[in-house]
């Protein structure tokens, strides 16, 4: 009887069996790499805006407080985007002829808002409240990165759940004093570990470790803390 398969079939069979295993492994690494890459997460990708607003200039160099524009950050879930009026408090006086600011002036004249491109957005199934984070000593730059050094604003963190949990599990690594919260170029001190642990207790942060010390404790790692 004639051979049904060519001699090479043995090799093909072996290669395809091992190849299948290897390519599955490779595929999972590639998928993992993609999911962690800026291509997917948008991290460190400056966004073009209708007006090239520079946080570096306004917050970093001029030292305008974050709350001057993001007015509701201490009292509401949403930090708030400034109306054109806020821009015009200064820009009705300075750079009044700048072509770069033309959209701002026309927005002010027509009453039609500037359409900024959103940089940081959480999915709708996540409950997030700026005010509580500010109140418990989470600084603006902890999540938003070195805003005082961003010519055009970019997303500094993935906003993935694992990233949220980094802090919700171990807040002592991240919290700072309340008076430091709005510093646009804050560097954690050398004794962060010590300071963090002290602040977690002082600010009654319901971290897994601190829970035992609190009278009432809703763990901030509970599912329902963020998924209500």
């Amino acid at each position: 009887m004639a051979q049904i398969f060519h001699r090479s079939t043995n090799t093909v069979a072996r290669v395809s069996i091992y190849g299948a295993v290897v390519s599955l492994l490779v595929l999972s690494f590639v998928l993992y790499g993609l999911s962690a890459s800026p291509y997917y997460t948008d991290v460190n990708q400056p966004k073009d805006q209708p007006v090239p607003f520079s946080h570096r200039h306004h917050a970093g160099e001029l030292g305008i407080d974050c709350r001057y524009c993001h007015t509701s950050v201490e009292v509401s879930p949403f930090a708030g985007l400034p109306p054109t009026k806020t821009c015009m408090t200064c820009h009705s006086q300075i750079w009044t002829n700048s072509s770069m600011l033309e959209p701002v002036r026309s927005s002010y004249a027509t009453g039609k808002s500037l359409e900024w491109v959103r940089v940081n957005a959480l999915p709708d199934f996540v409950y997030f409240d700026h005010s509580i984070h500010i109140h418990k000593g989470v600084g603006c730059t902890t999540c938003h990165g070195p805003v005082g050094d961003m010519p055009l604003t970019w997303k500094a963190n993935t906003l993935q759940m694992s990233w949220c949990l980094d802090c919700h599990r171990n807040p002592e690594n991240y919290v700072r004093r309340r008076e430091d919260v709005f510093k646009p170029l804050y560097e954690p001190p050398a004794n962060q570990e010590e300071l963090g642990a002290q602040l977690v207790r002082e600010y009654n942060i319901p971290s897994p470790e601190n829970c035992a010390h609190l009278k009432k404790c809703q763990l901030m790692t509970n599912c329902t803390t963020c998924h209500r």
Partner: protein, 451 residues
């Protein structure tokens, strides 16, 4: 073996050649009969209905199934448990009976294993479809993810994922490895190049050398050893889906053993349902003899009695516990809105199969076929009773409700029957339904060496 068991497990007059011819002919030479086309056609239409039902489900969500608080499980879980249970007989026949050297398993193990795999495939679809967002099914598996979370390992539903996927893998391997020498036989006897290539590819270069046989035997034994605990563990884990919950009628320690017995019970009923038409249509009475049917009927009788004991103890402990809710649950099963289901269950699973005590009944093929259908129905009703009656009257009367499946839910169920039988018809047509090599071994042992 006593004289009572003297009916042969292979009819006399069979030789190596006739065994090989008869079994391989079904696949290779015999014309595909009108009956096959009819059966396949019906099964395939139902499979298409299944596709339609799933598409509709994906478009609209599980609401179209009519499940709602308090009965959130409905048909999906009933059918999942029913199908997984059916699979168990295949594993029992191929693994445990192999280790116990029960020779009568030889002619039925191949299609019983096929039945296992197809049943597990049907079973597996239900929990996936029952998920609100089935495209996120992979969240059930532990893998490093951007959410920094693991599946809830305290939940029996996660244990289920491991139990059923292990079961599917081991069963598939067992089935395939067992088939390799037969596939080689088909390769060698195939009359065209496509057949030769197809079976040659599947036979993985089997040449029948002593080394091959040695490895084959070792692999079979190892896989049998792996599969044996699965017969007990898989349905135990499935029963935990209920027993871990605190709902009256679920929260009992009797669940694992009684589920396993029920699984084997329904599985043997299904093997019988498949074997009887199969041996008739393909005239395989010489291989699947009355002895096989008799033995299977006895296994059904025994496991059926264990199941009956389970029902009895369930009722007894409900009253003995003095627990108000447990007692109400039993009374509600007896006289509540679903009472016809409960009493049909008792009739199908306990009363009617008692006929099998009679040897005359066990030798009546038509009767056996009818009883096997009755038991399949009974075991389905059992799962219906467990899922629905316990849930629809929970602790708070304010949340009581009724559950009736919608037509989409019924289409999905009937659709999996279509999936099962489509696969089974394809299996009959393209793969050896009886283990040729093992049957040749049997010829040698039983008939004193066939030449």
């Amino acid at each position: 073996m006593s004289a009572e068991h003297s009916a042969p497990i292979i009819e006399p007059g069979q030789t190596f050649a006739t065994v090989t011819d008869r079994i391989s002919a079904i696949v290779l030479t015999q014309k595909t009969g009108r009956g096959w086309w009819l059966g396949f056609g019906i099964a395939f239409s139902l499979l298409m209905l299944f596709n339609l039902a799933i598409t509709w489900l994906f478009a609209w969500g599980v609401g179209i199934w009519g499940i709602n608080v308090p009965v959130g499980w409905g048909f999906a879980i009933i059918n999942f448990v029913w199908w997984v249970g059916i699979g168990h007989a295949g594993t029992l026949i191929s693994a445990i009976l192999l280790l116990l050297r029960q020779k009568w398993r030889t002619s039925i193990n191949r299609f019983a294993e096929a039945m296992t795999i197809f049943a597990v495939a049907c079973a597996g679809t239900f929990p996936l479809l029952h998920m609100g967002r089935p495209w996120l099914f992979y969240w059930l598996t532990p893998y490093p993810n951007t959410m920094f979370t693991w599946p809830q390992f305290r939940s029996p539903l996660v244990w289920d994922v491991f139990a059923v996927s292990t079961y599917a893998t081991v069963s598939l391997l067992f089935w395939f490895v067992g088939m390799i020498p037969d596939l080689a036989t088909l390769r060698d006897r195939a009359r065209n190049l496509i057949g030769q290539k197809f079976y040659g590819f599947l036979a993985m270069g089997w040449r029948g050398s002593a080394v091959h046989w040695h490895r084959y035997e070792t692999a079979s034994l190892l896989l049998a050893g792996l599969a044996t605990p699965l017969v007990l563990s898989v349905h135990t884990v499935v029963s935990f889906d209920f027993a871990i919950g605190i709902i009256p009628g679920w929260h009992t320690t009797i669940f694992p053993p009684y589920f396993v017995a029920g699984a084997i019970y329904s599985g043997f009923a299904m093997v019988m349902t498949l074997a009887i038409p199969l041996r008739k249509y393909y005239r395989l009475e010489d291989f699947v003899t009355m002895r096989h049917l008799d033995n299977m009927a006895k296994v059904m009788l025994a496991t059926g009695l264990i199941v009956a004991y389970g029902y009895m103890m369930e009722t007894f402990s409900a009253f003995y516990s003095g627990d108000l809710y447990e007692r109400f649950m039993v009374l509600n099963r007896w006289t509540g809105p679903y009472w016809p289901f409960y009493w049909s269950l008792i009739a199908c699973n306990i009363a009617i199969p008692q006929v099998l005590w009679s040897r005359k009944a066990r030798s009546n093929v038509t009767l056996l076929f009818v009883i096997s259908l009755v038991v399949n129905t009974g075991m389905w009703l059992e799962r219906f009773i467990i899922v629905v009656t316990s849930l629809h009257r929970d602790f708070l009367p304010s949340s009581w409700g009724m559950y009736w499946p919608t037509r989409w839910h019924i289409y999905t169920y009937v659709g999996t029957l279509g999936l099962f039988f489509t696969l089974f018809f394809l299996f009959i047509r393209f793969l050896p339904v009886i283990a040729i090599s093992e049957m040749r071994g049997l010829v040698k042992e039983e008939a004193g060496g066939g030449k």
